[in-house]
């Protein structure tokens, strides 16, 4: 072991750490600024607040037009949780059929499913909006939740199909000999073994629904229905007269659920990305 090797190693760690801090700076800036009094947010670039205050959080939580952020958080949570359940249940049902069952038109339907993965959302956007507005679903959460209950995110169906294909078929066969029907096979054999794929699906569905600004903006215009993303966007006035402290404080809070889920499921999360290429 030579000294020069240690130096190279230290140097590399140094660069990686420095670059990592640079990467984290915007997030850290957001966090620290949310505790600074309004007047200091843009005048002091340092990360450590010279004056520490919780006022921003108190002010921000009041929300807008008398609707507080507790409402927005509850709304976002409702949408996200119901989306997660929908995706887990219906995608796994479809995946089981595609991976394990034989049926008419299977190959055609399978091809259709693969194609829908590549389909840009915007091609469906206008007609879907028209359908939902004819159903009088605009300004309800149904346009955001119902698609998840119809396995509309084919990506997750494919993810689960791939996973089920890795489960030995002998398990199914011996269970069938023991008298299990398809329903029992799905519930007793496949679902317990599918848990890692279900968790990956759940995590990503939650985060994507939580962050999904575009559809929320299109379908929700009543303030009492607003989600966290819409609430923050409304606090924000690009012309510069926003209450920055409140805005940044609520921004921090909007990231907390995502960070929490990430921390809890880090291993599953990063493995899920690595193996499936989810973004």
């Amino acid at each position: 072991m030579t000294e020069s090797k240690t130096v190279v190693k230290l140097g590399r760690h140094g660069i990686i750490i420095l670059f990592g801090l640079l990467m984290l700076y915007p997030v850290l800036w957001l966090l620290s600024s949310s505790f600074k009094p309004n007047a200091l947010i843009f005048s002091s670039p340092g990360l450590w607040p010279a004056e520490f205050t919780l006022e921003n959080y108190v002010n921000g939580w009041k929300g807008l037009q008398g609707i507080s952020f507790s409402r927005f958080f509850l709304n976002s949570a409702t949408i996200s949780v119901l989306s997660v359940i929908g995706n887990i249940v219906t995608c796994s049902l479809a995946a089981y059929a595609f991976a394990r069952l034989e049926f008419r038109f299977k190959s055609v339907l399978f091809a259709c499913m693969l194609v829908t993965i590549m389909l840009p959302y915007h091609v469906l956007l206008i007609p879907q909006y028209i359908i939902f507005s004819k159903l009088d679903w605009v300004n309800t959460y149904l346009p955001l939740i119902v698609p998840k209950w119809l396995a509309h995110d084919s990506f997750f169906v494919l993810l689960m199909i791939q996973f089920i294909r890795g489960i030995p078929k002998e398990l199914d066969e011996s269970a069938t000999i023991d008298g299990c029907g398809q329903g029992q096979l799905y519930f007793r054999i496949i679902i317990p073994l599918l848990v890692p794929a279900l968790i990956t699906t759940a995590i990503f569905t939650f985060i994507w629904s939580w962050d999904d600004f575009f559809s929320q903006m299109i379908y929700l215009s009543r303030i009492n229905l607003f989600t966290v993303q819409l609430g923050i966007r409304s606090l924000y006035d690009p012309s510069g007269s926003s209450d920055w402290g409140a805005l940044l404080a609520m921004s921090v809070l909007s990231l907390v659920p995502i960070m929490t889920i990430f921390m809890l499921f880090q291993k599953h999360f990063l493995e899920g990305i690595a193996t499936t290429g989810l973004k």
Binding site: R12, I16, G20, M23, L24, P26, W29, L30, F42, T90, L93, A94, A97, L101, E102, F103, R104, L109, C112, T116, M118, L119, P120, Y121, H122, V123, L124, I126, P127, Q128, Y129, I130, I131, S133, P147, L150, A151, H152, V157, Q182, Y186, D211, F213, F214, I232, R233, Y236, L248, S251, V252, S254, L255, I258, M259, F262, L270, I273, A274, G277, K279
Partner: protein, 304 residues
Amino acid sequence: MKTAHKSALWKNSGTAYLFLLPWLIGFFGLTLGPMLGSFYLSLTKYNLLNPPAWLGFGNYKHIFTADDYFTKSLGVTFKYVLFSVPLKMAFALLVAVALNKGIRALGIYRTVYYIPSLLGGSVAIAIVWRQIFDGEGLVNRFLSWFGIEGPAWIAHPSYILSTIVTLSIWQFGSAMVIFLAGIKQIPADLYEAAQVDGAGKLRQFGRITLPMLSPVIFFNLVMGIINSFQVFTPGYVIGDGRGGPVNSTLFYTLYLYLKGFSFFDMGYAAALAWIMLIIIGLFTSIVFITSKFWVFYGDGKDGR
């Protein structure tokens, strides 16, 4: 025998279709139906209130011959895709390679580099980004320490797009995680053999790492193109939400949104969506076709 098999298939089909039912409803009701509907609408003038009025290819004709915003928004989006996708992948690959060399505390580094990808899609981060790059913001203050006078990143039409591109590059973490997993799959003896043959690090990277990773690069490239064409939130929040300044943030999706949901010209917006579909299809097919020449699979089935 054959009929027995057939009837069994039909019998099984019943159960299978039960499992498939939600997906089938979704496919016909939310994908296939809307696709056909969207194509029909693109041939009409429709504002939600009055019944669609048939135009034939009128919308398309107008888009291609008389719509400056179409050209403009396509240009903005192309520029974004052209810079964002390759740069993001280059960063991801570079950092993945740097992190791979048996480094300690890899888990922590990987997490740190991944966090931007995790949070970057939110409105909150887009707002932070706008403030950091603002004329009086932190980036310019930092530059001023070195005596550089930074431009008005947000207010100036020539710079705001690069600000949005930086935001997307900043989120290279997810691609990096995929690359890291790919690099781990490369057999170590390949490198050992190369070392014996006297190949340097750079040569090893070019001759082993890159070809062995080409399927992953291919995958990241296709997904990157599809996703980048659909970018919306960062442009909407960092710009003024109407494409300004001077149309420099008029992303294709934003133009489509404005046509459909501000002007309620649903038919026109549908036509824009179809053109977008064709453009994305074209780009991904080019990648697919050329992949024959640059994607290598370890099992000898090159280009498949």
